[in-house]
Amino acid sequence: MATTSPPQPQDPTAAKPAGETGLLSQFVHALSGLLPMLDHIKATIEESSGKIPKASSQLHSVTQATESATVEILNALDDMTQNVGTAERGLQRLAAIILETAGDVRDAIGLLQKNPSADPEHARGVETLVHMLSAGRSTEAQQIVETVTGVLATTRDSSMNIAMALQVQDITSQQIASVTHMIESVRLELTHMLGQFRGEATGGPAKQAEPTHFDTDAQYTPTAERQDQADMIIQQWTSESHG
């Protein structure tokens, strides 16, 4: 750790011996002051470049963690969508049963009214059945089914919208990859400089960071603007008979 303040170069004008020997002496004196400074710069570069792999690794961990969490959310959304589908199919069957039951009741009333009985229980039974139909219970039940079906459809759309919004994870991971690449480029530059300090450098430029497989301009803009622009270009391209 280079925590001490950098050594100051000694004042070359402090001593001024006369003639060439004096000049040489001044030069050596100045150099002896510069060397500790260069050592300090070298130590600082070493320290900085040593931290870079850790920074890159931390950024990589962020991407992995967000991807893992996103996949968990997508799994949950997938389960939700399947459950909504099961509930929708159940409601459809329920609606059919309600209709069938109403038809059966209507048929039963018809039969009972065709064959009247002196039994008061029989008459009350017919009245109850007629009330069931006239009170619109089956209609009310159908309305409830329709409302719940609507709620389920909205829930399915919302879960789909959440899933689509999770594309942000891919886009931000590309942005993070871009930053990591920049950091790696800085590390390589610093390593090159260190090599020069140590006299190891070949004199050529610093090594380039590995080729990339991300879009440096990736952006999360959930509007139709960029797609519309792409569609227009495709249309132009196709109309110019390239396709």
């Binding site: 991807e67 996103t70 996949v71 997508l74 959304l77 997938d78 969508t81 789909m160 899933a163 689509m164 919004a165 999770l166 594309q167 942000v168 994870q169 891919d170 886009i171 991971s173 590309q174 990339t212 497989h213 991300f214 879009d215 301009d217 990736a218 952006q219 999360y220 803009t221 959930p222 960029r226 797609q227 622009q229 792409a230 270009i233 495709i234 391209w237 390239h242 396709g243």
Partner: protein
Amino acid sequence: MASLKFLVVDDSLTMRRIVLNTLKTIGFNNILEAADGKDAMAKLLSEGADFLITDWNMPEMNGLELTRWVRATPQFSGMPILMVTTRGNKEDVIDAMKVRVNNYIVKPFTAQGLKDKIDLILKATEIKAS
């Protein structure tokens, strides 16, 4: 149509899951996945597919290189290809058209947007085939 076999190629697990879930919602359940162009080549050769949905930026082999390979391989040369990418610049779209993708979607996309593009491609390829 529902029996069409899709190959979804993206190095992002998140994106593969999103495209896969969307395809299932649309009604396509026969779906293969690949993490990059090389993996996609292997899957195509071993299992085949009817429709390719590919990302652009991927390690090993990117989406453009994969499309070039598909178009140059006689058994797959007519396969519908939809490019799904974050790259939305004019030059990018033209580069994709030059290697003969059938259509192009810029991320982030909507479920309806993906469905519309698939429908458009299938309609166009049917017309060409008839």
